[in-house]
Amino acid sequence: MKGSSMGYLLKTGFKNVYMNRLMSFASIGVLVACLMLIGSAVLLSLNMQVIVGAVEDENEMVAFLNMDVSDEQAKQIGEEIKNIPEIEEYYFYSSEEAWAEEQKKWGAASAMVEVDVDGNDLGPILPDAYRIKLKDVSQTTLDSVEQQLLEIDGIDPDIRTPSEEATILSDLERAISTVGGVIVIILAVVSVVIIANTIKITIFSRRKEISIMRLVGATNTFIKMPFIIEGMLIGLISALIAFGGLWVAYNYATQFIMTNPSSWLEIAIGRLINFKDIAHYMLAGFAIGGCGLGIIGSNLFIRRHLKV
């Protein structure tokens, strides 16, 4: 295709959007809503992952061993823990290490419990333990691992599990991705249909031109091109609007969270994703998504309405 005809096709595509501006406006509106929702879902999900990761880092399962368990038995228990599939890693946390950490935490105060009132050494008062990191912190995994740990001989039934927050967060994240995904699919379908109708109206209003184009020997590609460009343009404009809108909204939202921190969000605040860091991915994603939906929309009717 020569440069001059490319220029003509582009010009016609732009003109189509303008001539049909009411429908173009409707398509752009729906597409912007769709893209912004997709973007919000992505941002929310990314941030949730970060927060869940933060919470997970702070939490691990701790299985205390009974006080009477020998070193040999402890090793045996370690082997059995290894066999639990949901466990990512685990390590032995001896009574001495626990004691050292307690001392560090409490300082001088801890020295007092080392001996009884008469000054006799009480021996180890903290049990040995296994610290266990899980592959995820969903409730089902927690329950299943706890169940399996309880079956092992020598483990204290009072197993410390990660705090509720991580579980809630990870469930929430999953719920958001599922609901978000469904909404996004519905909106994508709606925008394709609206774009398709917009293009249909353009095709209808230009049918005389199209019939003449066919008579003078324009190829099918040439006849279709302005309508595909129209769809692409609607997609691109929507992508830019959605991108700008999301940037502003996201910055506003993070600002709000930072100035009104709730307790469990505190750990996450430093980790929230900065929009600037992912802006180019977002823009690329939006542009591809917008153009893609536009092209699909325009192709939907072109096939049926532009026969040779």
């Binding site: 005809s5 003509y8 031109e209 003449i212 066919r214 008579l215 003078v216 020997g217 040779v308």
Partner: protein, 231 residues
Amino acid sequence: MIEFTNVSKVYDNGTKALNNVSLRVDKGEFVFVVGPSGAGKSTFIKLLLREETPTKGIVKVNGYNLNKIKKRQIPQFRRSLGVVFQDFRLIPQMTVYDNVAFALRVTNVTNRSIRQRVPYVLGLVGLAAKARNYPDQLSGGEQQRVALARALVNNPPLLIADEPTGNIDPELSLEIVELLNEINKYGTTVVMVTHEHELVSRFNRRVITIDHGSVVGDGSLNDDWGDFYEG
């Protein structure tokens, strides 16, 4: 140039439009195709343009076998034809210049050749001064000349005119046919479909008469066509 061999056309609804038509138009000829409405003239044109395919028989135009032509070759084939219609089929939102240039633009012609070719063709049909006007500012005869310019701008070897004078005042109709005559002198083959007896009688040209889907006469007007109409 045009070759119909035992061509029949039956539409899906059962209408028999053409029945075993064989005819031949050679390069450089000027042919009138006449007959009453419903005779099959429109079908004849549609077959020529490859808007329809024959039910039986072979249609060859400009060296293309239209029975075997592939879909993606159709645009290429149509570029070898110029067509004008009774209703002009101009785009009202475009100027005269753009209407003519349109035929070149959609066929990948460079802007440079468009700027050379369009004024030349408009001059040929005598409308150079009206290039910036819109179709609704022109008379019927002028509009048809714009359509003629558009048909000729590709420099096609074959020009097909489907009732080109149907919407034009009689005195201007003559002008159009004279223009076609002029174009024919430059070597372009012209096929003009019409039912205007008066007009055909002014030119001593080959006349193909179609009625009830068959060719009932082929020769100069003075042979048999007049009788056919008056009878």
